[in-house]
């Protein structure tokens, strides 16, 4: 089996064997981990400088 075919077959098997609840939990954890491991300027939950529109507000 060619390497690309083997990889595709391996991924298919894993997806079929994965416990759905555990897979969902792992995906959620990955998103959290990825967020924490991004450079600060790319994080979604970062403090932002107020823009000109906001600064005009009293």
């Amino acid at each position: 089996m060619k390497s690309a075919q083997l990889k595709a077959e391996e991924e298919r098997k894993r997806a079929a064997a994965y416990d759905p609840a555990q897979r969902w939990q792992h995906i959620q954890q990955t998103i959290t981990w990825a967020e924490a491991n991004l450079p600060p300027h790319l994080r979604r939950n970062r403090p932002r400088t107020r823009g000109p529109e906001e600064r005009r507000q009293p």
Binding site: A4, L6, K7, E11, K13, Y18, Q22, I27, T30, N37
Partner: protein
């Protein structure tokens, strides 16, 4: 997925490996949609033995078919059956490569060129260099290449050369 736990166990078992793939790109450059950890393990008997110990600690499971999905065996020789394995672990999905397309037979050179990356939790790991990540992409058929990743890598290489 607890990436830190996976890397920590690989480090503790002294597995000779390189972090590759999307997670490596994410740690070093930009977010990319990826839900597994890819590692390239040095393809040598003692290293595969250490890798198998780490996999068993991580609760890794694999099977020749999905119906035979079981904890990985104690005898590490199963790792010689194929060049790539996609596993489940207690901490998330883990892909093991014994060889990498575009970098065949070059583990030692790639390890020498690797970069020490560190996760936000402070777990260190050997990370495939930008130049070698690019070589992997260039070895793929054009329709499988990740063009955004290649652009970012080319730019990072260009920047490092001008510094």
């Amino acid at each position: 997925m607890n990436v830190d736990a996976m890397l920590r166990v690989l480090n503790e078992e002294q597995v000779d490996y390189l972090l590759i793939g999307g997670m490596n790109f994410l740690i070093r450059h930009l977010p990319e949609l990826t839900f597994d950890v890819d590692i390239w393990a040095r393809d040598e008997e003692e290293n595969l033995r250490r890798l198998n110990r780490a996999l068993r600690r991580l609760g890794a499971q694999w099977g020749r078919t999905e119906a035979e999905w079981l904890p990985v065996p104690e005898d590490p020789r199963w790792l010689e059956w194929q060049s790539v394995f996609c596993l489940t672990t207690d901490h998330g999905a883990l892909d093991i490569f014994r060889g990498v397309r575009g970098l065949e037979g070059q583990f030692a050179d790639c390890k020498a060129r690797s970069v020490r990356a560190e996760t936000a939790a402070g777990v260190a790991c050997p990370s495939l260099s930008d130049r070698d990540m690019l070589a992997c992409q260039e070895a793929l058929p054009p329709n499988e290449q990740k063009t955004r990743r290649m652009e970012v890598l080319r730019e990072a290489i260009r920047r490092s050369e001008t510094q």
